[in-house]
Symmetry: C2
Subunit: 236 residues, 2 copies
């Protein structure tokens, strides 16, 4: 390749990383705002979150087209090819994160009209943890920092632990008073959305590791979610 072509190509790969990180940043904000809307019972903010999801979807299409043009015109190989394939995988995960945040925002609108159940501190804690992980994964991508990616990959356990606590708390609310059932059910789904967002952040970190190192992470990831097996006894 001629020198100016090489420079242009390097610039395109950098731009790809930055576009993906920008999409990740939008998703982070959506997660934060959806939980703020939940905690403050702010239906207006929730409606904004729902409306903004289209920006994430549009950016996904833009990045996908950019990847296809890169593949067609530059025919990348080795680490560059891995980056493009990783970017395609990551943007789909971010798009899912956006969908989960939108869904949480929709439920916040219903919950704004329901009596408040508990402090909802756990939700804020979960949102903060998954946002940090998502941000860490994006930083790892932009800086091609496999060690940072590995940190995020190992950091999903606290998210699962908070989720398990919320799961038990909500089932207890339901058993105490049937009037809590509607609100507690929606809150359970919001918590599940946050837990899945955490899973996606972890998967993104795994993909970044692969893109940077050229090898998949093989170790078994620490898992803290056992609510799938949970049985909460009825309170007498």
């Amino acid at each position: 390749m001629q020198e100016h072509t090489v420079r242009a190509y390097a610039g395109e790969l950098r731009r790809l990383r930055e576009l993906v990180a920008r999409m990740g940043g939008l998703a982070e904000r959506q997660v934060a705002d959806s939980v703020t809307a939940l905690v403050r019972q702010d239906a207006e903010l929730a409606t904004e979150v729902i409306g903004r999801d289209a920006e994430i979807d549009a950016l996904e299409r833009e990045i996908e087209d950019f990847c296809i043009r890169l593949l067609a015109l530059r025919q990348p190989a080795g680490a560059d090819l891995r980056l493009v394939v990783a970017a395609l995988k990551i943007i789909h995960a971010i798009e899912r994160i956006g969908d989960y945040a939108r869904n949480a925002a929709k439920r916040s609108i219903v919950l704004a009209q329901q009596p408040r159940l508990g402090s909802l501190n756990g939700f804020q804690r979960m949102a903060r943890l998954v946002q940090e992980n998502l941000k860490g994964a994006m930083d790892a991508l932009v800086n091609e920092d496999a060690a940072r990616a590995d940190e995020v990959w190992a950091a999903d356990k606290p998210v699962d632990e908070v989720y398990n606590g919320i799961f038990r708390e909500m089932l207890t609310f339901m058993m105490e008073d049937p009037r809590n059932i509607t609100a507690a059910t929606h809150l359970l789904f919001v918590a599940k959305n946050l837990e899945r967002i955490g899973d996606h952040a972890t998967n993104i970190a795994e993909t970044v590791h692969y893109a940077v190192q050229g090898q998949a992470l093989t170790e078994e990831r620490p898992k803290g979610d056992n609510s799938t097996y949970a049985v909460v006894r009825q309170q007498d």
Copy 2:
């Protein structure tokens, strides 16, 4: 390209479509078996489903590697490039479907020890619908049939309607008797898993359409799920 290279390349693209369809077939079976395990309260079958998820994950890695080799060695363009990018997108969606089926199977193990709530007919109906859609999307991919993909894309509404019915039924069970809360909560999550599997099947169909036609579907998809906004009144 020389003739034998062209033939080898065409064979590789066909093999790619077949590998993706095989992965889709595995996921279909997982969905079917997880719901059979649920309905029959068969913990043994549920355990098999959980164990088999690793096959789907392994096939995802195999197909991803195959795509990367294709991109590196054949430098596909136009429709071939679209197929490879679509395949990468589809296998991630199938991997998610596998995860949802595994999660449903895990919950079936808990539910096998709980009193049975209702007929669970809705779950079988949902499973059948999402399986058909997944199969339709895979057929569309293998036969490069955009019209078939469009049919699947438009067929998600009945899935959402059954889901809404289950949502209301489960909330009613919870309100009738707090002893139903644990089982009904797990069943709600299983129904949500099936609903998301349906969403993924629809997304896959959309991706197949794009791969075959070279243009994204732009029309708004018919949506029937409004349970996110649902409020069920307490029964007096």
